[in-house]
């Protein structure tokens, strides 16, 4: 993979490319959270009774764990979040019924264009179906017709609740129950929207599915809920990319993603996360507290998480795999970059339950400026998980002498046939490597970009092509100015 040298233009706009706010009328609920808020959200979305019940159960559970048990174990420092100071629902007022793109609010289309995900272009060129989530309500879904030919359901969560209640009812909360953790409970109570995808038996999804998330409206917590199910023999590759406008106060994002792979199914979930990280002094930025988990329920199933995390003031995220089915495979590839005052505490959990289960973890952390970057992972081999195999590699790269890189790997092995390997290294960019590139006339900045890209290659290789290119650019933007 060759490294593209960023041109002057790109360097000039590197600060935060996506910092703008779209002027669209919003239908918002007042700030604050109460049972009323939960009811109001459910009402506005026209949800059936059982969904509301589920939300309320989650809300009541959240109340019981509030405050004292708010998770503080991560290696992060941030002020307490005031949950009464958040708007829990914001929908574009003008809710369009989509037949064609012409009906979409032109302002909205412009926003997407600025983000570089012009729907028309996506449609025409790349063959990627985009379910664009604008704040909290899905505005448009493309390629639906094409997908439905294969029997694939790909729609917004609210639509799925209405049209495929049997599937939603069966699977929602089955991987991440609302009792799982503080933020999962919060999300279950107030989730606004998200994507839903069902791949029927034996179907290989013909295109890469993708959702672009976008946080708009100051003070709106975004509570996405994504549910992906691949039935026996199904295959799907799903992309998630994120940008947010530049805001000064911290915004909370507490999403839940659930993946379910049945017999012989494969799910690939790739994320590029580029939310506003705050300015150079660490002011502002998004709090990203996400619960992502996949269950390899069936025999020979496989789930791959690939993530490139460059944004957010705080990232708290552990995409995990529960390897229940025999011979199932879990994979986690991650690049996490922190600069200035960013903090990241991210990693994965691999829970081996079935026989002959395999997991691979490759985590590459890069810290620059005054940032702190932690890898926190768990590999657990249960007593009955015969012949489980795990390989973990977590490397950290330090740029500058005021940043921190930390690793907290937990390894729990309860079966003697398990083979668990863990390797970790921490180092800085080699002087000799830099010198080699510099003496060939390559500028310092470019030389660092090249080395960093090479260091991340193992992960980028796992990303779909379009994403890999974008990820490389993001990386150089994030590290901009970190070298003196």
């Amino acid at each position: 993979m060759s490294t593209e040298l960023s041109n002057v233009e790109e360097l000039a706009i590197k600060d935060y490319k996506y910092g703008f706010q779209t002027e669209i009328d919003m239908d918002t609920l007042p700030k604050g959270l109460s049972e009323e808020t939960v009811r109001a959200i459910s009402l506005r979305k026209g949800e059936p009774e059982w969904m509301l019940e589920w939300r309320l159960k989650a809300y009541r559970h959240w109340l019981t764990i509030k405050k004292e048990n708010e998770p503080h174990w991560a290696n992060l420092k941030f002020p307490d979040v005031d949950f009464q100071d958040i708007i829990y629902y914001a929908a574009p007022k003008q809710k369009p019924v989509i037949n064609s793109l012409d009906e979409v609010d032109p302002e909205l289309l412009k926003t997407f264009e600025k983000l570089g995900i012009s729907l028309q272009e996506q449609k025409r060129l790349s063959g990627v179906a985009v379910d664009a989530v604008f704040d909290s309500v899905s505005v448009t879904t493309t390629f639906k017709a094409e997908l439905s030919k294969h029997g694939i359901i790909f729609c917004s969560m609210s639509e799925a609740v209405k049209e495929h209640p049997e599937l939603v009812k069966k699977y929602i909360g089955s991987v991440v129950p609302y009792t799982d953790n503080f933020y999962a409970a919060l999300n279950s109570a107030v989730f606004s929207d998200g994507s839903f995808c069902y791949i029927p038996k034996g179907v290989r999804c013909p295109m890469e599915l993708s959702t672009y998330f976008r946080i708009n409206t100051s003070g709106t917590g975004q509570f996405e809920r994504t549910l992906l199910i691949a039935d026996n023999g199904g295959y799907v590759s799903y992309l998630e990319g994120c940008t947010a406008p530049m805001r000064d106060e911290n915004q909370l994002h507490a999403a839940v993603v659930e993946l379910i792979a049945l017999d012989d199914a494969t799910i690939k979930y790739s994320t590029v996360q580029n939310w506003y990280p705050g300015d150079k002094e660490g002011k502002g930025g998004i709090y990203n507290f996400v619960t992502k988990r996949g269950a390899c329920r069936g025999v020979n199933s496989k789930i791959t998480w690939t993530q490139v995390e460059t944004g957010s003031a705080i990232t708290w995220k552990y995409p995990s795999c529960i390897l229940q089915g025999d011979n199932s495979i879990g994979e986690f590839y991650s690049v996490a970059v922190t600069n200035n005052h960013q903090q990241a505490d991210t990693g994965t959990k691999m829970i081996h339950l079935g026989r002959n289960t395999k997991s691979t973890i490759v985590s590459k952390g890069i810290s620059a400026g005054k940032s702190n970057n932690s890898y926190r992972g768990l590999v657990r081999v249960h007593k009955k998980a015969e012949n489980a195999r795990n390989f973990t590699q977590c490397d950290s790269l330090l740029i500058g002498d005021r940043c921190g890189a930390h690793t907290f790997p937990y390894i729990e092995v309860g079966n003697p046939s398990a083979k668990v390997e863990h390797e970790a290294t921490t180092s800085k960019i080699g002087e000799d490597q830099l010198f080699y590139l510099r003496q060939r006339g390559i500028a310092m900045e470019d030389a660092i970009n090249m080395i960093v890209n090479g260091y991340c290659k193992d992960v980028f290789r796992e990303l779909p092509m379009e994403f890999a290119v974008e990820a490389q650019k993001l990386l150089s933007i994030s590290l901009e100015g970190s070298v003196g």
Partner: protein
């Protein structure tokens, strides 16, 4: 409930002891003990909710009411059983946490070198004790608090600048009296001057097979360019509980080697913490544990790189049998200005049965950029191909496995410089494998 009860038990015991030491109660030394019991009342015994005790439950320990015991009569033969054949040592015998002068045998040392009991020195040289007691081992859990509060006896080794203790100092700890649940809490101090060298063997054995609790705290201070080797052998009976805290502070250019081998005990917890607080320090931590039955062995290490240009080298290995459990937690801290740090850590374990379990957590926290830190952990079983190789050459299965386990453990033994110690420990491991 159990927990509250045992906390009260030790608090009451403290009051009883305090009532009987009328002459001492005003001393600054006792002031520290009183502070420690207050701290104990506050922090209590650790529970699974404490991150550092996540994998080690001490509820079994709290079932018993342990109390301090007097020294008892032990025969020369009993002592000789635990000596290392052929190795010339300064023998120091400690029974139930009390120094035994009659059984000890200390050679004449150079001027200024002291190998004496903590109790004696508290009277004859209180300044020395006060300078170091409680200065290195911070009270961060109930056990350290308890040891500090009940600190009474133990061994002090003090070496002035430019001196050395020629032979090993063997601190032989015997615990038990056959009648009560003995609580032995030795408090040891090792103070080494500039350019000096000391080697200490610390061994723990039982003299009865009733439940006992040994709760040791070692505080070590290494002067500039000094060398210190601490070799610990834990071979108590399978009903004993053992909690050990070793805290070392290293000055510029010093080298500290800690070697730990754990064979006995029901629940064993070792906390080995070193602070590399000067340039060019070297810290070596090596450990081996062999467990069987329902033994539980927990090794926690903390290496704090506080200054630049230091090296640390860590290697722990475990072999687990039956239903035993092993825990390893290795923390490496690299402080902001500790540039050019080189830290290496490795942790490996072999599981021999389906019922044993290993939990391991190698942890790196790095705040400097020009460093080389790596750690590796591997957990698995014996390589079947290697077993097959040996068997195809006519070696019985049992022996083949034994040979492979010994080969696995050999990396740790190779760090030993004394042939006598090497052979002795090797034999003990061999016996345990039977």
């Amino acid at each position: 409930m159990e927990n509250i009860k045992s906390k009260d038990w030790y608090l009451t015991n403290f009051k009883t002891i305090e009532g009987s030491i009328n002459g001492e109660s005003k001393t600054p030394f006792h002031e520290l003990r009183r502070k420690a019991i207050e701290k104990f009342e506050e922090v209590d015994f650790p529970t699974a909710k404490d991150e550092d005790w996540k994998y080690t439950s001490i509820s079994e320990i709290l079932k018993y009411k342990f109390e301090s015991a007097e020294t008892i009569k032990v025969s020369k033969e009993e002592i000789n059983k635990h000596l290392i054949p052929g190795l010339k040592v300064n023998l120091v015998v400690v029974i139930n946490g009390n120094f035994s002068k009659e059984l000890s045998h200390i050679h004449k040392q150079a001027d200024g070198v002291r190998i004496d009991s903590f109790k004696n020195l508290r009277k004859s040289d209180p300044d020395l004790i006060m300078e170091h007691f409680g200065k290195h081992a911070q009270i961060d859990n109930g056990f350290v608090a308890l040891n500090t509060a009940f600190a009474n006896d133990g061994i002090v080794i003090s070496v002035p600048d430019n001196a050395a203790i020629e032979d090993y100092v063997h601190i032989l700890n015997l615990t038990g009296n056959g009648t009560s649940n003995v609580l032995s809490q030795p408090r040891n101090l090792v103070i080494i001057g500039k350019n000096s060298a000391v080697k200490v063997i610390e061994s723990y054995h039982s003299i009865s097979d009733t439940e006992s609790l040994v709760n040791v705290v070692n505080e070590v201070s290494l002067g500039e360019n000094s060398h210190f080797g601490l070799y610990k052998l834990q071979k108590e009976c399978n009903r004993s509980f053992h909690i050990n805290r070793t805290q070392a502070h290293q000055s510029k250019g010093s080298e500290f080697t800690h070697f730990s081998i754990t064979l006995g005990g029901s629940i064993v917890r070792n906390d080995t913490n070193i602070v590399l607080d000067g340039e060019n320090c070297t810290g070596n931590l090596f450990g081996l544990y062999l467990t069987e039955g329902t033994q539980h062995v927990d090794n926690h290490t903390l290496i704090d790189h506080a200054k630049p240009h230091c090296r640390s080298n860590e290697m722990y290995k475990g072999v687990l049998n039956d239903k035993s459990r092993g825990v390893f937690n290795g923390k490496v801290f690299v402080r902001e200005d500790a540039q050019k740090t080189n830290a290496y850590q490795s942790n490996k374990a072999i599981l021999l049965t389906a019922d044993c379990k290993v939990d391991t957590k190698p942890q790196l926290e790095i705040y400097a950029d020009d460093v080389k830190c790596s750690h590796g952990a591997a957990i698995g079983q014996l390589d079947e191909e290697a077993v097959f190789y040996l068997r195809s050459r006519g070696i019985g299965e049992e022996l083949a496995r034994k040979v492979l386990i010994r080969a696995f453990a050999n990396d740790i033994f190779e760090t030993l410089t004394s042939a006598e110690l090497h052979d002795h420990l090797n034999h003990l491991v061999y016996d345990k494998l039977k």
